[in-house]
């Protein structure tokens, strides 16, 4: 299949190979779209839940020659007919996911239902012998997350949760830069996600309110903490190589005061080992500051969403200057070899930081995570580390909600360690 971005894709695959030592899941992104695949050898997939996210995943999966969407399932008829149309009528349709799971020749399922359904569907699918890609948020309770992990271990079937930043070139490179010590010791991570909309979808009939606007209600949604913050907490966990020891936070509804019961603004502090904190906020009543994730180190700063990084003091000193200072400090009188034509920085007007990567555009992370899922089925191997990353980020976002609800700091529970 033709790819719009073939050149950057090839260089990305090379990059992945180089980074796979420190981020082992990247070895699964081997560029499946470049291969010719015999139709009979394709991975057969079903999709459960085909709302906006599910439809997007369907379109991404259709770009993978090794994958074939053979079944789709949704209990909302307009979504189901839309999905059938998107597959040009080739996929079988189901309104009950149990029937889809009963298909004997199905290799895996992609689950994109509201999160309160994730645990049951995932566990049923794994027990039915299917590999599972489940969208985040993983589940609404830590014990459900744990049960999903245990089901994966018991059945031996692959389980992957949709944290696509793990497959984002900028984030991968930034984590490498941090590990290499380029910005020195990381002493704080700051992140936010600001939007300005009511977070609602238009409901054709009032009785569908709770089902279609599931994001707005706590029995079906984790709100901003789980829908937005979970992604950025995952990145902080990844960067800091761990999970928070305790979480505190405050949330309220101060603008979208309709029938919803999830907060419309949240502020969190997640405390990691060695006294490092992730300071976080999200709201849906102002989008001026957009989205950011900033890694603050003693020698530099990385602004992930902007794709930039900055050294501490701007440009490096002239060659010879550091030697001169060393000579002065040691009583040495020697020539200072610095004279020459004018040094010109990359950005001639003033110091605007360096690009994390120079490649544009970068491959779509969601596409890559789905390619990795398909590869993991083909190879019969669970992708290393990715489920663990998802688990710790998901539990952290659940605990963040607990902290905001109780207005008490919440310590990481001992049973939530894999």
């Amino acid at each position: 299949m033709d790819q719009p971005n073939e050149y950057s894709r090839r260089s990305f695959v090379k990059f992945l190979a180089a980074s796979a030592v420190t981020m082992p899941w990247l070895a699964m992104c081997s560029g499946t779209t470049e291969r010719k695949v015999h139709l009979s050898g394709r991975i057969r997939l079903g999709i459960i839940g085909i709302g906006s996210r599910g439809a997007k995943l369907l379109l991404h999966l259709q770009l993978i020659p090794e994958a074939e969407i053979v079944a789709v399932c949704d209990d909302y008829y307009p979504h189901l007919t839309n999905a059938k149309q998107l597959t040009k009528g080739t996929a079988r349709t189901f309104s009950d996911y149990h029937e889809l799971l009963a298909l004997p020749d199905l290799d895996g399922v992609v689950i994109a239902t509201p999160p309160h359904l994730h645990a049951a569907m995932t566990i049923d699918a794994l027990k039915a012998g299917k590999h599972v890609f489940c969208e985040k948020a993983m589940a609404l309770r830590p014990d459900d997350c744990l049960r999903m992990v245990h089901a994966h271990k018991q059945t031996g079937k692959n389980l992957q949760i949709g944290f696509q930043r793990l497959f984002d070139l900028r984030f991968i490179k930034a984590v490498e830069m941090v590990r290499q010590g380029l910005i020195g010791q990381v002493t704080m991570v700051r992140a936010w996600w600001h939007r300005n909309n009511d977070w609602r979808v238009t409901v054709p009939k009032p009785e569908l309110e709770r089902r279609m606007n599931w994001r707005l209600y706590r029995n079906t949604s984790g709100g901003l903490a789980m829908e937005l913050a979970a992604h950025q907490i995952q990145v902080a966990n990844w960067l800091l190589n761990g999970y928070p020891q305790s979480i505190m936070g405050v949330g309220s509804i101060n603008y979208w005061n309709d029938s919803r019961d999830v907060y419309d603004n949240i502020s969190l502090i997640l405390q990691y080992p060695n006294g490092v904190q992730l300071v976080y906020d999200a709201l849906i009543s102002n989008k001026h500051h957009g989205m950011a994730q900033q890694i603050l180190g003693v020698k530099g700063t990385i602004e992930l969403e902007q794709g930039k990084w900055y050294t501490k003091d701007g440009p490096p000193p002239a060659p010879g200057i550091l030697q001169l200072i060393n000579n002065i400090e040691h009583g040495i009188f020697d020539t200072i070899p610095i004279g020459g034509p004018s040094w010109i920085p990359e950005h001639p007007v003033d110091y605007k930081g360096e690009n994390i990567i120079d490649q544009h555009p970068i491959p779509e992370p969601t596409q890559l995570e789905l390619e990795a899922f398909v590869q993991s089925i083909r190879q019969g191997k669970q992708i290393p580390d990715v489920l663990e990353q998802a688990f710790y980020a998901s539990v952290a976002s659940i605990l963040a909600n607990n902290a905001m609800d109780t207005q008490q700091p919440v310590k990481w529970p001992a049973e939530c360690v894999l």
């Binding site: 440009p315 400090e329 020539t335 004279g339 034509p341 004018s342 010109i344 001639p348």
Partner: protein
């Protein structure tokens, strides 16, 4: 090596971005608080100057001049007036070899030199001392003060150091403009050497500097900032290539101007111009195709 006086304080050093390059400030044996104060004065002064002289800052007076000075006379403040009249002075005493009106040439490729040439030449600039204003007599003209800005900035730095009675300092402005103030803490001067243009581990000439500034101009070397960027404004063509000139002078401005002018001037023209710059030391370096270099000093 001479006897080292006792260093009471660690050597202060900071680098900051300015005028399209970096500025290194080295202040040996100063109380850290005084050193930080001096550094801040230097940084603020240079940044303010840059905000007036930079053609890359769209709201700078120079940008305004470049946009509108053909349509109308543009009034400037005292400092910029001083810079412009200084440019006029040096244009005159270098027989037109130093000329800040080369912007049209800088911005065009070789095929356009002949077309752009009539748009350059300081004799097409009118400076009106009655109201301190500037006007271009031809359309399409523009000023680039890159050949004088760093020298002018170092004159300001010199005044700051004198005002605060600082005994020694080394200020490197992008390595092409260096002020060696006082003497090295362990010697009676600052031994500053010029790096080889094609082998950064070698150096080709050393100056013994004390209360002096060094300026190096080079043209036609591939690499960072050293390709063709100096033009003979009289001919409208690039100045000599694979050549570098370093000048040491008590005046940073003179060092800056003369190093540029000597790249432009023919051999037979140089002597007449150099006599307007008494006390300057000059090293002229002609590079061969590889690493060989001939150094002539006078």
């Amino acid at each position: 090596m001479t006897t080292a006086p006792e260093q009471k304080f660690p050597t202060f050093h900071q680098t900051f971005p300015a005028m399209g390059t970096r500025c290194d400030v080295v202040l040996p044996n100063l109380h850290p608080e005084i050193a930080a104060f001096i550094y801040q004065e230097i940084q603020v002064d240079i940044c303010l100057l840059e905000s007036k002289l930079s053609r890359f800052q769209t709201d700078s007076p120079i940008s305004e001049i470049n946009r509108y000075a053909h349509e109308r006379a543009i009034r400037v403040d005292l400092e910029l007036w001083d810079v412009l009249t200084t440019c006029r002075h040096f244009h005159f005493i270098t027989d037109g070899a130093f000329d800040v009106t080369v912007l049209p040439l800088l911005q065009k490729n070789q095929a356009r030199y002949a077309v752009e040439k009539p748009k350059s030449g300081f004799h097409h600039v009118e400076l009106n001392s009655a109201d301190m204003s500037i006007r271009f007599t031809r359309p399409g003209m523009g000023l680039d003060l890159g050949g004088i800005g760093k020298g002018y900035a170092l004159e300001n730095v010199k005044r700051i150091l004198q005002t605060h009675n600082i005994k020694r300092a080394l200020i490197s402005f992008g390595e092409s403009s260096i002020m060696a103030w006082g003497n090295h803490p362990h010697g009676d001067h600052w031994p500053v050497s010029i790096r080889h243009m094609r082998d950064e581990k070698r150096w080709v000439h050393e100056f013994e500097m004390k209360d002096q500034a060094l300026s190096t101009s080079a043209n036609g070397f591939s690499g960072n900032g050293t390709s063709i960027h100096i033009f003979d404004p009289r001919a409208g063509t690039p100045a000599a290539i694979s050549r570098a000139v370093s000048v040491v002078s008590r005046s940073p401005l003179e060092a800056e101007v003369l190093s540029t002018a000597l790249l432009v001037l023919r051999k037979d023209e140089q002597k007449g111009v150099i006599r307007h710059f008494p006390g300057c030391q000059i090293a002229e370096m002609q590079y061969g195709e590889n690493v060989e270099v001939e150094v002539v000093t006078y």
